[in-house]
Symmetry: C2
Subunit: 354 residues, 2 copies
Amino acid sequence: MTELKNDRLIRALLRQPVDVTPVWMMRQAGRYLPEYRATRKQAGSFMQLCTSPELACEVTLQPLARFPLDAAILFSDILTIPDAMGLGLYFSEGEGPRFKHPVRTEEQIATLGVPDPEQELRYVMDAVRLIRKELDGRVPLIGFSGSPWTLATYMVEGGSSKDFRTIKAMLYERPELLDQLLDTVADAVTLYLNAQIRAGAQTVMIFDTWGGALTPSDYCHFSLKPMERIINSLQREHEGQRIPVILFTKNGGQWLEAMTDTGADALGLDWTTDLSDARRRVGDQVALQGNLDPSVLYASPAHIREQVAKVLASFGAGSGHVFNLGHGIHPGIKPEHAGAMIEAVHELSRPYHA
Amino acid sequence: MTELKNDRLIRALLRQPVDVTPVWMMRQAGRYLPEYRATRKQAGSFMQLCTSPELACEVTLQPLARFPLDAAILFSDILTIPDAMGLGLYFSEGEGPRFKHPVRTEEQIATLGVPDPEQELRYVMDAVRLIRKELDGRVPLIGFSGSPWTLATYMVEGGSSKDFRTIKAMLYERPELLDQLLDTVADAVTLYLNAQIRAGAQTVMIFDTWGGALTPSDYCHFSLKPMERIINSLQREHEGQRIPVILFTKNGGQWLEAMTDTGADALGLDWTTDLSDARRRVGDQVALQGNLDPSVLYASPAHIREQVAKVLASFGAGSGHVFNLGHGIHPGIKPEHAGAMIEAVHELSRPYHA
């Protein structure tokens, strides 16, 4: 494997010294980039874009051609696993992701298979291998998966949901059935992330987009526990390199202590938690990733710079910080505004690492 | 004024002893009730329902005819104030509330008038007076307003928003302009709530639906500070009775300490914070209101009862708890499920007040 030319991300995730704070953006390969929209159009559909290793590789690399980002993140969808389980993922205009075959009954859950990542999800692994080759060690590649709870919400509801009525009814009425579903999904996520690591992902992130919709005790049981089980089963070293694990629960700011105890190397934070408070709470146990409000990028470059400075000051001196947005970049953001943020992070963070 | 026959709500908000925990539901007069849907249809439009004191009174009282609730809450919309300011509120199918004339420029903000509640919002005050008369002291009447930040998001965006792009650009680029807007809205809210109190509201609640979309420091400056200014200007006694103030920031669980310092009598909580933790954090300074996940009501009555028991146990013994959902009741809930919750609260809370 090629040596990493820029290993800031990995070093920061492992709380090792860096020259400047590394920065990447959730959904950095996405609709705010005209070149992404062109490739997406060429692909025909979003799923065709995801399932073509060449096109997935192309869009993964697009933001790196524009910006001095410190990481690439695999372009894919969080719903590839349930799709590979046979739920029939499709995207309907204006409605977001949908499943043809939601999973709700005891029988459906019992017969759910765990996909072999190198078979049913081979297109993802091929994309990882191709991206690693094309990156040629410039920056590390981040692999990822949705969390079991987050995937289960889509699988049970059949798509996006505002109130999670079906899965929450299951949670209260048949908690053991939901546990069974989450166990199966956690097994699938574990295999999926380990396969990504073997294919070349140099760090992996678990996106728990909907864990924040739960009560504290339900979060611990139905979202955090399955994630902890995954983290404990991940291959944490590959070809002599440590593979850091990042855990991100959107709206999880109240539960950082519990998240820290999972064994993750780093926690992702949205913008509703101060990095200084978070750092005080988690101590030296984990690195922190975040947490600029993505809506800051609607402001002018000069004001973006001010807000970047505030986030950097909030974390303060020393390593263990990966700069990121607190959520995915909005499709309406001007690319040069993202560029202003990235430039400001590198420039303004230098004194904190002197 | 008639003596209150059931004063549990007021007593609990003031942390005085009660026989059982009082209970009401956000949006208890709403679409989950067939009788509400019938009156709404008869009114012709949602705004006609809001602006008719007779119909607003009718729907306010509907849930009390069904359930042994411990409070009535004025039926109205949070956007009556900006509508009275001339922004032209209307409701478009599937899009929610919209304003014909959003407020964005310096000039628009400078010329914004503060409505006289007994003139431009007289229909609300007439509804309050009529409801008080019809209630005849059965239970207290809760008045309410949206928070300045929450109202400002609709006024600047022109409607609902996912990312608050326009108001957040204003926040970062022209904070002094946003301050000016929030000052005007806070003045309007103060007059509005004081007028409701004089018209007969026996407690008032400030709904800060969107404060949780801010960073901690922006929340303190742009949402909490204006609410604190309002609370300090409210008439806290009327006709010899103390008027408790309830403050509710959705997704504000990380900021309870700061909310406690506003001088509010009670804090509303959504379901992402444990009542036991919250009680430990706020001490004896405020009462707590909440916090059953509204999606629990999708489960069966037996399971609803279990979850009610957990919320009651989480608060524990003693007064200072008003049972509520953590957010408005969903339109798809069966009325008898709401009934099961209310019954369970009264029945299961008795030992905690022995």
